[in-house]
C-alpha cells in the first residue's frame, strides 16, 4: 500500500521541495522559540558548567 502512496507522488523530485518546506518551517519555529526565552533564564542556563558544586577539585586553578 505504502508503495502506491509513494508512487502516486509522481515526480520524486518533489522530495527536495517537501524537505525544504519542512526545514524552513521547523527553523522558523526554532528561532521564534529562542527569542521568546527570558534573558535571566538564558543567563542561568549558560552559567551551568561554571556552577561547580564539587568541594575538592574547584580550587585547582589552571596551570
Amino acid at each position: 500500500m505504502l508503495r502506491d502512496v509513494f508512487k502516486s507522488i509522481g515526480g520524486i523530485e518533489n522530495y527536495g521541495l517537501i524537505s525544504m518546506i519542512i526545514f524552513v518551517f521547523f527553523f522558523a519555529l526554532l528561532i521564534l522559540h529562542t527569542f521568546s526565552l527570558k534573558r535571566k533564564d538564558v543567563d542561568d542556563f549558560s552559567r551551568m558548567p561554571l556552577d561547580d558544586v564539587s568541594k575538592e577539585s574547584d580550587d585547582i586553578q589552571d596551570i
Binding site: 505504502l2 508503495r3 509513494f6 508512487k7 520524486i12 523530485e13 522530495y15 527536495g16 517537501i18 524537505s19 525544504m20 519542512i22 526545514f23 521547523f26 527553523f27 526554532l30 528561532i31 522559540h33 529562542t34 527569542f35 521568546s36 526565552l37 533564564d41 538564558v42 543567563d43 542561568d44 542556563f45 549558560s46 552559567r47 551551568m48 558548567p49 561554571l50 561547580d52 558544586v53 564539587s54 568541594k55 575538592e56 577539585s57 585547582i60 589552571d62 596551570i63
Partner: protein, 719 residues
Amino acid sequence: MENQTFYYDNKIVKNFAYATLFWGVIGMVVGLLLALQFIWPALTFGIPYTTFGRIRPIHTNAVIFAFVGNGMFTGIYYSLQRLCKARMFNDLLSKINFWGWQLIIVLAAVSFAGGMTTGKEYAELEWPIDLLVAVIWLVFGANMIGTIIKRRTQHIYVAIWFYIATFVTITVLHVVNSLAIPVSLFKSYPIYAGVQDALVQWWYGHNAVAFFLTTPFLGLMYYYLPKAANRPIYSYRLSIVHFWALIFLYIWAGPHHLLYSALPGWAQSLGVVFSVMLIAPSWGGMVNGLLTLRGAWDRVREDPVLKFMVVAVTAYGMSTFEGPMMSTKTVNAISHFTDWTVGHAHIGALGWNGFLTFAVLYYLIPRMFQTQLFSRKMANLHFWIGTLGIIFYAVPLYWGAITQASMWKEFTADGFLKYPNFLETVTQLQPMYATRAIGGALYIVGILLGLYNLILTIRAGKFLPEEAASAPALTRVEGKRGSGEGIHRWLERRPVQFILVALVAILIGGLIEIVPLYLVKTNIPTIASVKPYTPLELQGRDIYVREGCYTCHSQQVRPFRSETERYGEYAKAGEYVYDHPFQWGSKRNGPDLSREGVVSGRQYKPNSWHYNHMMNPQRLNEQSIMPVYKWLIYDDLDISTTPRKIRVMQFLGVPYPQGYDKIANDDLMIQARGIADDLKSQGIQVEPTKEIIAMIAYLQRLGKDVHAAGMPTATITGK
C-alpha cells in the same frame, strides 16, 4: 531545601582517559605504517595480517571508535556528572561500558587482521561484534539517561542535548546499516545490494562523522571551553539553534559521498542542498565557541588547554566549510576518489577530534589527580609539533589530490588521455606521500610528549577516585507543561520526550531519502543481461572483500569522458543489483576495476597477467604500490561455504535456480579447472582449488554483463 552530599565517580573517567591515550598511540602508529606502505609496499611484509587492505580498517576504526570513542566517553562521563550534579546512574553499567568497549576494540583489531570484514567503510565489523557493539552502546545510553533522570538540576544543559543526539542517532545508524544475514560466525551478507547498500552505507558513514565525531565533541566544547576559559558560552540562544539545525540537517547529507554515481539524481541533489546548508549551523557553532574567548585571548597564549581548544574549533570550522564545498558537483568532480578526501578527514580527526581530546585530557587529569600539569612547556611543545604535523599531513595531500585529478583528466591535443597509465599518476605523488608520512610521524611524536607529560603529572599527584559534592535535591516539577512555559522549555527538562523529538528530527531525513529507494523499484532500472555471480566468482568476490581491495580500488566509473576513455562504460544502477555488499570504494590509489573483465575493453588482462600481478605487482610494474598477495596462491579456497552462501543469496532475492546450492560446487570446480588449464597453457602450474583461481574468476567477470547489454556511452557530462 536541604543539601545532599554525593560523590562523582572519577575512576571511570580515569579508565577511559588511559584507554584514550593507549588506543590513540596504537591507532596512529598503524596509520603511519599505512602511510609508509605507500612509499615502501614491501612493508606489508608479504603476509596477510599486515597487508594494506586489512590494516586500513584497523587504523580507521581504532582512531574513530577507540581513540575518539574513548575520548568521548572520558569527556562525557566527567561532564555529565557535573552538569547533572549527580553520580553516574549505575557503577556496574559504567564498568560494563568501559570493559565492553575495550573488548570490542580488541576483537575488531583481531578480526580485521584475520580478514573478517563486511567491506563497508567504517562499518567493517562482522555481525557478532556488531551485536556486542549494540549491547554496549545501549548500556552507555541507559547509564546516561539514568543519570539525566536522577539529576539535581532543573534544566538540561545544551552539552547534554548533544550527548543525547549522539546516543539516539548512532543507535539508529548502527542498526539500520548493520542488517545482514550470517553465512557463518565470521561472514555475513548485508540485506541491501548495490545502489541501496551504497545509499544506506553512506547515510551511515556520513552520519557517523556527524554523530560520533561531531555532536559528542560539540557537547564537550560546550562544557570544557567555558570551563577552561572560566566564562559562559558566548550565546546560549545560538547554541539552541546550533543544536536543532545541525541534527536536522546533517542526516540528509549522506548522498554527497555518491555524486556522479549510479544513485538516482534526486537523492544526489538532496545531499548537495543539505550539505551546503550545513555550513550555517556548523559555523554558528564555531563562532559561538571562538567568541566565548573574546577578551580572554591573553589567556589563550598562556594556557595549553585553551590553545588546543582554539585550534580544534578552528579545524572544525575549516572542515565544515571544506565539506560542503566538496559536496558541490564542481569540486566533487575533482576531489572525489583522490587523497583530498583523506586530507579533509584528517583535518577533522587530527585537528578537531584529536586536539579537543588532548585539551580535555590536559584539563581533567591534573584535576582528578589534585595537582598541576607537570610541564606547561612540554604541553606547548606538544601543541606546536601537533599543529605542524597536521599541516605537513594535509597540505601535501591536497597538493597531490589536485595533481592527480588533473592528470586523470588531461587529454592530448589529439584527444587521447595524456596519462593512460594510471600508475604514472601514483608515482607522481610519491614526494607528497613521503611528506604526509612525516606529518603523521610528527603528530605521533606530539602525542608521545603529551603522554609523558601526563604520566609525570599522574606520578606527582594523588588520585581522587570519589569526589565529594553537594547540592539540593531537585524539586519535582509537574511533568505537565506549566502555564506560561514554552514547549521547548518543557522539553528541555523532560529527557525522554526530548529524545523522542530528537529521534523524529533525525528520522525525517533518513526516511525521506531511503524509503523511496526501497519501495519504488523503478528507481533502479534492471538490466536484463546482468546475471548473478557464478559460485566461483562469488567466492572470489568474498576474497576481494576480505582483502579490502576496496581500500585502494573503486568499482564505479563516473560519467566523464576522462573516465569512460580510461575504464569503459560509466556505472549504471542496474548492474549492481546482486552486489551484497556494494564495493564502489571511496578512493583510487589504484585504477577502477569495474570494467576489468570486458574483453574488448582497455583494461582487459589475461588470466596469467592477473596471476603474476597478484603474486608480485612490483615485478610487472616496478613503481606499483599494490601489496603482494602470495597467500592467494598457496591457500586453498574453502568451498564448504558455497551451499550456504548460495542459500543466503537466494534468501536475499538473488535468482539462483531452486536447489542450486546442492550443485553449486560442481559448477565451481568446472569453472576453476577451466582457469587452471588456461594458466597451464601459459606455463603456470596452479591447482584449481587455490584462492587465486576464484579471485581471477571474479576479476574477469567485472563489467562483462553491462557490456553485453550494449549500453550506449552517450550522455557524458564534462571532462
